[in-house]
């Protein structure tokens, strides 16, 4: 099972240049989405047939904080002039959406919030997600972003056969 992480405080722009370089929408994303996007690139960059629509891969993103970091930015803008560009990222599942769009993954995409990082619990929920008969693999990530420079991340690419 492949696993990657991004150290807290790392330059996401540098990682983008290193791993991607040709997806300018990246710069519109909130930190949570940037982290999820980059973790996914690191996991699947060398997969064959990338960017071919597929429905058999789920995107399952876990955290405690959800999108609270970006919520604070929106709340700040709200007092002056509410920013639609910030508002659309005030949802914990936008990161799963960004990953799905980039990779053309039309399968299940979900965001879960747990009280704390708990690997046993994450795998319990991932195993349950494989009850969907269509799902054969999953991008699983814990992305807990407490500010724009502090986070805890880890991401895995798992196949059904790894789980059972």
């Amino acid at each position: 099972m492949k696993q990657v992480s991004i150290p807290s405080g790392a330059s996401l722009t540098e990682l983008y240049r290193q791993w991607v370089g040709d997806y300018p929408k990246f710069f519109k994303m909130d930190t949570l989405s940037k982290l999820g996007f980059l973790l996914t690139e690191m996991l699947v960059h060398d997969e064959p047939d990338r960017f071919t629509f597929r429905e058999d891969r789920a995107v399952l993103v876990f955290s405690r904080e959800g999108c609270v970091t970006n919520d604070r930015h929106y709340a700040e803008s709200m007092k002056d002039f509410p920013s639609p560009a910030l508002f659309v990222y005030t949802l914990p599942n936008i990161v799963s959406g960004e990953i799905s769009i980039r990779n053309k993954w039309g399968g299940e995409s979900s965001a879960y919030v747990l009280e704390s990082y708990d690997e046993a619990r994450i795998w319990e929920l991932v195993r349950q997600a494989f009850q969907d008969k269509c799902t054969k693999s999953a991008l699983v990530a814990w992305i807990d972003c407490t500010s724009d420079s502090e986070w805890l991340t880890t991401a895995w690419l798992v196949n059904e056969t790894d789980m059972f």
């Binding site: 599942n93 299940e108 995409s109 747990l114 349950q128």
Partner: protein, 383 residues
């Protein structure tokens, strides 16, 4: 595959707090919409009455009230090690962002403590499909064999945060919303809480709780109060893989979710499809395309946003409960606000109440992040 039944429901809505009150309001086209002062723009919404409420959090209060009602109706012991909790909400206690921990994890913890649930809760926060995704999560937890009962709770309160955000996107209508109508001009926000208790047994109470060795035999202290027999057959969540804040032009994710839940199911069996129907131009058009692609163009379609507004994290659970009760009453509910077909290709929108003797329906939702969900409900699964 293990069958999963809904054995208890709880509601907190501006038009009533019991399924029969709420059903009567929907059938009569009665809503609680009015214009509210905004920040500074006014907004048209269906909000709960906070007069007399003095607790620390109105969100926590309504979530707990709906959950307690469902637990009571189900007759279960929420503190059992085989009872789980799934919370569906989009913004939880966001109005306190300047002063408190507004993480959804904190909201779930408060709810679990209030109910006496001992197992760790999980929050499913998938934008506007959260309630549907939370029910599907509950179904999967029952099927995993690790739980006897799952309490699924959806709740949303409105705030400056949410209202100004939707206003900035120009998604709100200052008039009553008109799902699927030619003159629809946007959505109205709403507040509600809704809860269901799911079980592998169609009977309320711990009467036939089979897996706990201590409960191998009927427990005479908790007599079943009713026999529900509404089954959540299956569900699916699919992404459009297209855009984070606009639905697919081809209804891709919604169609794929429908295709999954309707495998082996005849459209003839369905009493109706209760759609998302937010009354934004793009959502309703996208749903019409997905329904046509799935061969459901002749099945009655209804939307409840004209009564409740968009109740976000509560919507999937609230609209599913109302749909079950409508089926029990033998009716396809009307679509408040609809008068002239405004989608192409057309779908069979129920403008007025119709009779039905069918006992299955599909609940459909879509949301930001490109997510779409479908659930298939069927009555009589235990017979």
């Amino acid at each position: 595959m293990t069958k999963v039944f809904c054995i208890g429901c709880g509601l907190v809505t501006p038009v009533g707090n019991t399924p029969s009150e709420v059903l009567a309001a929907v059938r009569a086209g009665k809503s609680a919409f009015r214009l509210y002062d905004g920040w500074p723009e006014p907004y048209y919404a269906s909000l709960l009455d906070r007069n007399g409420f003095e607790g620390p959090s109105f969100f926590d209060h309504i979530a707990l009230q709906a959950a307690r009602t469902a637990v009571q109706e189900a007759g279960i012991d929420a503190s059992s090690s085989r009872v789980g909790l799934v919370l569906s909400t989009i913004k939880g206690n966001i109005e306190k962002i300047d002063t408190e921990d507004v993480s959804l994890a904190a909201a779930a913890d408060t709810l679990a403590k209030g109910l006496g649930v001992k197992t760790a809760p999980v929050v499913v926060s998938n934008a506007c499909i959260s309630g549907l995704a939370a029910l599907l999560q509950g179904v999967r937890m029952i099927r995993s064999g690790a739980y006897d009962h799952i309490i699924v709770v959806g709740a949303e309160v409105q705030s400056r945060f949410i209202v100004t955000g939707f206003q900035s996107l120009k998604a709100l209508s200052l008039n009553p919303c008109k799902p699927f109508d030619a003159d629809r001009e946007g959505l109205n926000v709403g507040e509600a809480a809704a809860a269901m208790v799911l079980s592998a047994q169609p009977v309320s109470g711990n009467y036939f709780s089979g897996r706990d060795p201590k409960n191998q035999f009927p427990d005479t202290s908790t007599k079943p109060t009713h026999f529900s027999n509404w089954e959540i057959v299956d569900g699916a969540v699919r992404n459009d893989a297209n855009h984070i804040s606009g639905p697919s032009r081809t209804g891709e994710g919604s169609y794929n979710a429908l295709r999954y839940v309707l495998e082996g199911v005849s459209a003839e069996e369905l009493a109706f499809v209760n759609v998302h129907g937010t009354a934004t131009r793009y959502n309703d058009q996208m749903e019409a395309i997905a329904l046509n692609r799935a061969g459901l163009q002749d099945v009655p379609v209804n939307a409840l946003k004209g009564i409740f507004g968009h109740t976000m994290g509560a919507a999937g659970i609230l609209e599913s409960i109302v749909s079950m009760k409508a089926c029990d009453a033998g009716v396809v509910l009307p679509t408040q606000g609809f008068s002239q077909m405004g989608v192409e290709p057309a779908v069979n929108v129920s403008a007025q109440e119709r009779k039905t003797d069918k006992k299955a329906f599909v609940k459909l939702l879509s949301g930001f992040g490109g997510v779409n969900g479908a659930l298939l409900f069927r009555k009589g699964g235990a017979e």
